[in-house]
């Protein structure tokens, strides 16, 4: 829908950028969809097995005594989905797809806003159910007929519809029957999903449940309640006489925080996608998630915005592509683009560090520049791969420390590392201190996990690191053997102590013991522990350099947090106030540029009226207001105008004033007041 091309010339590769952006987003989108599918799989499987069980019991043994005696309840699944209502849509869509594939073609999704009464609910329900096998050519004509007759929206007509439909499946051609019965059982249940249980009115739900429980023998109904808060809401909405008609089972979806962690893990902490988020930007997105909405969908939308914004605003983002394409793209860069590279702050920093000969070459020779750029970009790629692996290793350590000085989640660690040199922070220092006090079993398991992470990573530099870590592990094993010997040595000294009863000697030996313990404090294990921690520290210093320090990071990392915040954290009050208080901000008219708190008469009428009303109290006298308005407006016009006319307000000014005031009323700043005649009441607070 959008193209980045603003002008006709394509020196900044806008077309290519657009294509790259699109393909990247499509990849990421399909990836997120796959992740979500995987995450929901467990829940959906449970639900499917519940639904297929729900009516099977009754069909088998209706003649048995206990079944005759038992009250037949409506099977109900209470689906607790968490407060992130925006994500529910996707879950429900997946759910109804899965149900239609596996269990029943009859699925109806109901929303509270469509069902203010039982009548509307039944209409909606029947409309959805009766259209759901529209693909059946035979059914088509029937449907048209039925709708022409204006079906009666009542349970009996629903039941007769159900009977006719299930009968039709039975009498269909054998090939088709086999097909359908393999997927759906003989009499498939009718599933009704209440998307937002909380918003339904009590009466509608109660009546619907009472009605359908009377017909449960003829119509195998299954209800699914989508619950955002807690299952207690069922008891709050339904009295016992109604809830006793239901057979409720609880299903819980994955918490949205875990969902986000998986998304971050799979989308950001991977080298599959060339595009990366900078620390501040990621922080903005995570903050919106944690502070405001808990919505994973919104997080992904924000991520998409970052991608679009990056490719749109950064001409060099054409190089933000997969490793294989870099060479080709670098060498086809135009002259303008080369200049763009030279202008990048990180590149300038890089140039300054080189010796003079190379500096000149970089700044004048385009081909050399391109070679160098390609090399640097590849370095950047390698850096990122290593970064992710070492970050995971560090996370193994920090996540098991008491009080989590560097955060429990890997995303917190990631943000900390992106932002600045993590080893210079206090938190890092304290976590190293804590790591030096870890016990052996923990340390060994951590090292083993680090080895696993590094082995599975794609980086090639880690062979030596892995070897080193393995060496540590064998040393720990050796220690165990030595430890048993040491214990033998320490025993005789204890015996000596018991022998000597002389007070002086006792004191002396005790002091000695203490001394030796202090000096011996560094046992072999402790020495080794220090070594390990120091080694980890060195790895961190080498690989977890913040991305801002890397040359050409601007190409791959999106760092415009302020832009993103402006887009996502809308502040309507502030914007409105700015527009009315300082129209120059939006209108960009030089004449409107005013200094200080003065009221310019060139500003639009509404701005003048707004500024004047800020000076008033809760009730505003309209006559005074008009006076003030006309004074401001007349100020610029001839000051030596008729004294007589200044008494009487000009009709045009009066009309302008009335219009401005009604505009303010429309915006919700004031409203007419009944307390005093010719007064209006202010509705805003703290504006002045």
């Amino acid at each position: 829908a959008h193209d980045f091309r603003s002008t006709s010339d394509d020196s900044e590769d806008t077309g290519l950028r657009f294509v790259t952006c699109q393909s990247l987003w499509n990849q990421i989108k399909s990836e997120t969809e796959k992740i979500q599918e995987d995450l929901n799989k467990q829940l959906l499987n449970n639900l499917v097995s519940f639904l297929s069980q729900a009516h099977a019991d009754f069909q088998e043994k209706t003649t048995e005594w206990s079944c005759r005696m038992k009250f037949r309840e409506i099977p109900t699944a209470a689906l607790v989905l968490g407060v992130n209502v925006t994500d529910h849509d996707l879950t429900f869509r997946g759910l109804s797809d899965v149900l239609q594939d596996n269990i029943t073609p009859y699925v109806a999704l109901l929303e509270a806003k469509d069902c203010p009464g039982v009548k509307n609910l039944m209409q909606k329900l029947m409309g959805q159910l009766m259209n759901c096998d529209i693909d059946d050519p035979l059914e088509d004509e029937d449907c048209v007929q039925v709708s022409q007759n204006r079906i009666r929206c009542s349970m009996p007509s629903l039941i007769s519809w159900y009977e006719s439909v299930t009968k039709k499946i039975d009498s269909e051609t054998p090939s088709k029957k086999r097909n359908s019965s393999s997927r759906h059982c003989q009499s498939p249940p009718v599933v009704v999903i209440f998307k937002d249980m909380e918003s339904f009115t009590t009466k509608v739900l109660q009546d619907f449940i009472v009605i359908s429980s009377q017909h449960i023998h003829e119509l195998p109904l299954v209800l699914i309640f989508g619950i955002a808060t807690s299952p207690m809401i069922i008891h709050r909405l339904l009295p016992h006489s109604v809830s006793s008609l239901l057979c409720i089972e609880l299903f819980q979806s994955l918490s949205c925080k875990e969902h986000l962690s998986t998304i971050i893990d799979k989308l950001l902490l991977t080298s599959r996608f060339p595009f990366k988020l900078g620390g501040k930007v990621l922080q903005v997105l995570i903050n919106i998630f944690l502070y405001h909405d808990f919505s994973v969908q919104n997080f992904i939308k924000g991520f998409q915005l970052c991608i679009v914004e990056h490719f749109y605003s950064q001409p060099l983002s054409v190089l933000c592509c997969h490793l294989e394409d870099i060479k080709k793209r670098v060498h086809s860069l135009s002259h303008d683009q080369c200049e763009n590279i030279r202008r990048l702050p990180s590149f300038r920093r890089y140039v300054e560090e080189q010796e003079s000969g190379k500096q000149i070459a970089l700044l004048t020779n385009e081909n050399f520049l391109k070679e160098e750029t390609e090399k640097l970009l590849k370095d950047l790629h390698v850096y990122h791969e290593n970064y992710v692996s070492i970050l995971r290793c560090l996370h193994v350590f920090t996540s098991s420390l008491p009080k989590y000085p560097l955060g429990k989640q890997i995303r917190e660690l990631h943000c900390a590392c992106l932002e600045n040199r993590v080893w210079e922070t206090e938190e890092y220092e304290s976590s190293l201190q804590l790591a030096r006090m870890l016990n052996k079993t923990d340390l060994v398991t951590m090292l083993q996990r680090c080895v696993e992470i590094l082995m599975s990573s794609s980086g090639k530099e880690f062979d030596r690191t892995v070897e080193k870590l393995k060496e540590f592990l064998t040393q720990f094993q050796n220690l165990e053997a030595e430890a048993s010997q040491e214990r033998d040595v320490s025993v005789p000294s204890q015996k000596e102590l018991q022998k000597k009863t002389d007070l002086y000697h006792l004191q002396k030996t005790l002091l000695e013991l203490k001394e030796s313990r202090r000096s011996k404090k560094l046992t072999k294990f402790e020495m080794l522990r220090f070594e390990v921690v120091d080694y980890i520290d060195s790895l961190v210093r080498r690989y977890l350099v913040p991305a801002d320090d890397r040359t050409l990071h601007e190409i791959v990392y999106f760092n415009a947090a302020a832009v993103l915040r402006g887009h996502l954290n809308a502040a309507p009050r502030t914007a409105l106030h700015t527009a009315l208080n300082n129209p120059h901000w939006y209108l960009k008219n030089q004449a409107l540029k005013c200094d200080g708190g003065g009221i310019s008469n060139k500003a639009p009428d509404i701005c003048i009226v707004y500024k004047l009303h800020l000076e008033c109290g809760r009730l505003i006298n309209l006559v005074d207001w008009l006076e003030a308005f006309s004074t401001v407006v007349m100020a610029a016009e001839e000051p030596n105008a008729d004294a007589a006319s200044s008494d009487q307000v000009d009709d045009i000014i009066h009309a302008r004033f009335i219009r401005a005031v009604s505009e303010l009323e429309l915006l919700g700043f004031i409203k007419p007041s009944k307390q005093k005649t010719d007064h209006v009441a202010r509705l805003t607070w703290g504006g002045c």
Partner: protein
């Protein structure tokens, strides 16, 4: 000795009827004497009321079908508009008169149409010289339909000039029905609750074929001993009896006790039933889950009930908004300055504080508060600065849709909307942690 006697109906039918409606013989005989013989005109309308599951619907249905009286049985909850209700009566009437299942669709929008069509339908030979009974179950719904429906049904005999009796079944007393303008007074009849003896008798009637009646009666006795205090609903009790019977039989099946060993059986079942009272009866866990547990012999403790999942995870600012809303709902406005301002000055101890000491604000329930007050409290309880972004406002709305806050008097959005906090102190404590 048959209690029911009526010259118009064959004695065999009456005897069968009596066996089908235990503990309701007196009501049935009263009804029969009101109904009179088939061709006799009966009272125009009869109003029957009684508590939930006191057998109103069941007795009426059994009476009418056993004696093969022509009747129409309609549930008013199910037919929620007057049009649906009237059409349903006419459709059933067609079936009644022609005896076939197929009924042509009828269109009937008003009561006038209904009377006309009703006369046509009753004219058929099958119905001509018999009283027709129209039973309206859950008649309390009639009050919510158009104002003319209820009075018209009460004097339907007069309006149609046909031999028809309308029976209303309801759970509430007649006084709550009487319209302002007055109406024909129906014959009212009360169905009392079943006593424990009645329940015992009725429940024991349907014993499973594998076991003797005495054995089952002993089981019902134990069951009632546990549940009678909390539940007198016959349907519910029967359901519970069926659910737990397998557990009761367990010692017998295993051969550890015989059917007469009541004490042993009681020891086995009693704790189990108590547990059932806390879980299944309250629908904390579903009956199918309960059965599965029984089958596997597991402890119900493993399965958490619905109310165990009370914790709700909320975003950071939503938590603070909710806490602020709670404070605004339960604290009087005059204390705001003292609680939320840094320099509130000296606390004056005045008399009016003491006056209200006794009545806790929690007993009075939440009070409505304007949006501005909510935001002001929010700003003072959150440590860092909060920008009034659209996100904050949309969070308030989403809290309303989640039913954690509720909007009061939503007619004027501009006039500063007012809210109420609807969550409990425990909930606030949980999220404030």
């Amino acid at each position: 000795m048959p209690n029911l006697e009526h010259p118009a109906y064959p004695a065999a039918d009456l005897l069968r009827l009596e066996s089908l409606v235990p503990c309701r013989e007196s009501q049935v005989s009263t009804l029969l004497s009101i109904f009179g013989e088939r061709q006799q005109l009966s009272f125009p309308s009869i109003f029957i009321y009684g508590h939930t599951s006191s057998g109103k619907t069941y007795v009426m249905q059994t009476l009418l079908t056993t004696l093969q009286l022509p009747h129409v049985f309609v549930n008013c909850v199910e037919h929620f508009t007057s049009r649906l209700l009237l059409e349903e009566i006419l459709i059933q009437l067609q079936r009644c008169s022609s005896g076939t299942e197929q009924a042509s669709p009828v269109h009937c929008d008003t009561l006038n149409d209904f009377v006309r069509l009703f006369k046509q339908a009753v004219a058929s030979p099958g119905l001509q010289d018999q009283t027709l009974y129209i039973v309206l179950d859950r008649a309390e719904q009639l009050r919510e339909m158009e104002a003319n429906i209820l009075p018209a049904f009460l004097r339907l005999q007069e309006l149609t000039d046909r031999n028809v009796t309308v029976v209303l079944l309801s759970e509430i007393v007649w006084e709550l029905y009487r319209p302002n303008i007055g109406c024909f007074e129906p014959f009212t009849m009360y169905f009392p609750d079943y006593s424990i003896g009645h329940l015992q008798k009725i429940l024991s009637q349907n014993h499973p074929p594998e076991y003797s009646a005495d054995f089952y009666a002993a089981y019902i006795n134990i069951l009632l001993g546990v549940f009678y205090m909390v539940c007198r609903d016959l349907k519910e009790l029967r359901h519970l009896a069926a659910l737990n019977f397998a557990k009761y039989c367990e010692p017998v099946v295993r051969g550890e006790a015989n059917e007469r060993d009541t004490r042993k059986l009681w020891k086995n079942i009693e704790p189990h039933l108590k547990k059932a009272m806390q879980t299944v009866y309250l629908r904390e866990i579903s009956s199918s889950q309960w059965e599965r547990l029984q089958h596997d012999g597991g402890e119900p403790g493993q399965l958490k009930g619905l109310s165990a999942h009370t914790h709700v995870e909320l975003p950071y600012y939503s938590k603070f908004l909710l806490i602020a809303a709670y404070l605004a709902s339960y604290n009087p406005v005059r204390t705001d300055k003292r609680f939320f301002l840094k320099h509130h000055g000296k606390i004056r101890k005045t008399n009016f504080m003491k006056k209200h000491e006794k009545t806790s604000n929690h007993l009075l329930g939440p009070k409505p508060f304007p949006l501005d007050r909510l935001l002001a409290i929010l700003y003072s309880i959150v440590d860092n600065r909060v920008a009034p972004t659209a996100n904050i406002f949309s969070q308030i709305t989403s809290l309303v849709t989640l039913q954690l806050l509720s909007m009061v008097g939503q007619n004027d959005q501009l006039d500063g909307p007012r809210y109420k906090c609807t969550v409990s102190l425990d909930f606030i404590r949980a999220i404030a942690r």
